[in-house]
Subunit: 125 residues, 4 copies
DNA sequence: GTGGTCTAGACCACG
DNA sequence: GTGGTCTAGACCACC
């Protein structure tokens, strides 16, 4: 379910955050469902528990999960604001990319065509 | 001409590389035109010369500029391969973004609309 | 009567202590009235009996309830000292808050107004 | 400038966050001023660098400071949103306290009097 | 020198 | 058993 790419330069804890976020958004992880414990995930991925902890802390701060001391971590029933935040970030990023495209002398029709192509290829859920 | 954003988390030398690349692609910097010296740029931007040096080394490696010992750095007359590389990177990045869009439940038409919108808004050269 | 908020970060046993305290202070629980047994409360709230036990021990220590071996727990006829303690804690806490308000550049009149407003809104008994 | 209370149950990193926040809000730390380095603060307070790091990361996320790799950490020129957030949290907390006051049978006039008293006593800047 | 990430191992409060 | 905090020490990229 959660795959770490050690070649990738993005920090491990961010990869985990991202992965869990999309699992929640896609509905694979359902509201109030319990996540694997920090320690279990750590041993499963053979990663230091502190790293998982950091990822979970971020996810909690963003409203995707909530943690209860002594019981575990759970999917937030209403991660709405976190998702909205992610969408906003996406569009900001997109704007920058499109600007780059223009600088690279990529014409709008070509760009649109590629977008459509990639959209079709992207993994179906 | 070259603006550094210190708040941005991308390394300064990368910001310089990127900026010079687009200046060349856009034709603002013409073939064989001399670039400002490492020292001058360093004092102008009040940045450590090592940082400029690193940026120029990368640019030379990518074929955007060439350096002549004792004379300075110049815009390469044929930066084609560098540009191609940049285009490829762009599309790889785009593919990833479109995949993200799908995960975020953004529909293709909405995505296309935004792309068009941003394309129109992007700075005219 | 007793509601647990699992999302709240304050320990469950403290939530119980607090809840029972106010029920006693408000007179909902009358002097010498018998409290539900540890086991019953535990199953009713689907909570570990140890947690209830801890809460009751604290309440007894603070003079709000007394326990009789083999019979159960009862509301203390004179929880005065416990209430006084709670009042003192309240004012200490208040002092700290007011100090924070000043640091946040909240003016005294605004603060007073908010206090009055909240006091009016607070649940009538 | 920054004092740690080891008796206090609130985590060290939170104490640091809180302390730096008020120093910024009070204007003791000015916009774009450089903060002491993570390592220096760590040795000064005889605390592990990781703990300081955690505090600074939070402060950055809240918009109070910004950090530049290789250069240091600086006071954000516009910590507005962070301050607003703090004010909101304050009023939420206040509402809860006032509700407690009512439960404790503290009359509004007495409460107001205490607030005024504490406000006067609070440290002048 | 700086901030940032990660590991290893410890301790605590909570259930 | 759980999450949370902290220490000690290492390594990296950046300037």
């Amino acid at each position: 379910m959660i795959i770490i790419d050690y070649q990738d330069r993005t920090p491990i804890y961010e990869q985990i955050v991202d992965r869990v976020q999309t699992l929640i958004i896609k509905g694979v992880l359902k509201a109030n469902e319990q996540l694997p414990s920090v320690r279990k995930l750590a041993t499963d991925l053979s990663i230091n528990p502190n790293t998982i902890q950091k990822a979970f802390a971020l996810l909690e701060q963003q409203g995707f999960i909530y943690s209860v001391k002594g019981r575990g971590s759970f999917v937030s029933p209403n991660p709405g604001s976190g998702i909205e935040q992610k969408r906003e970030d996406f569009f900001l990023h997109l704007e920058e990319m499109v600007s780059n495209a223009k600088d690279l002398r990529i014409e709008l029709p070509d760009l649109q065509k590629k977008v459509q192509e990639f959209y079709g290829e992207a993994q179906r859920d």
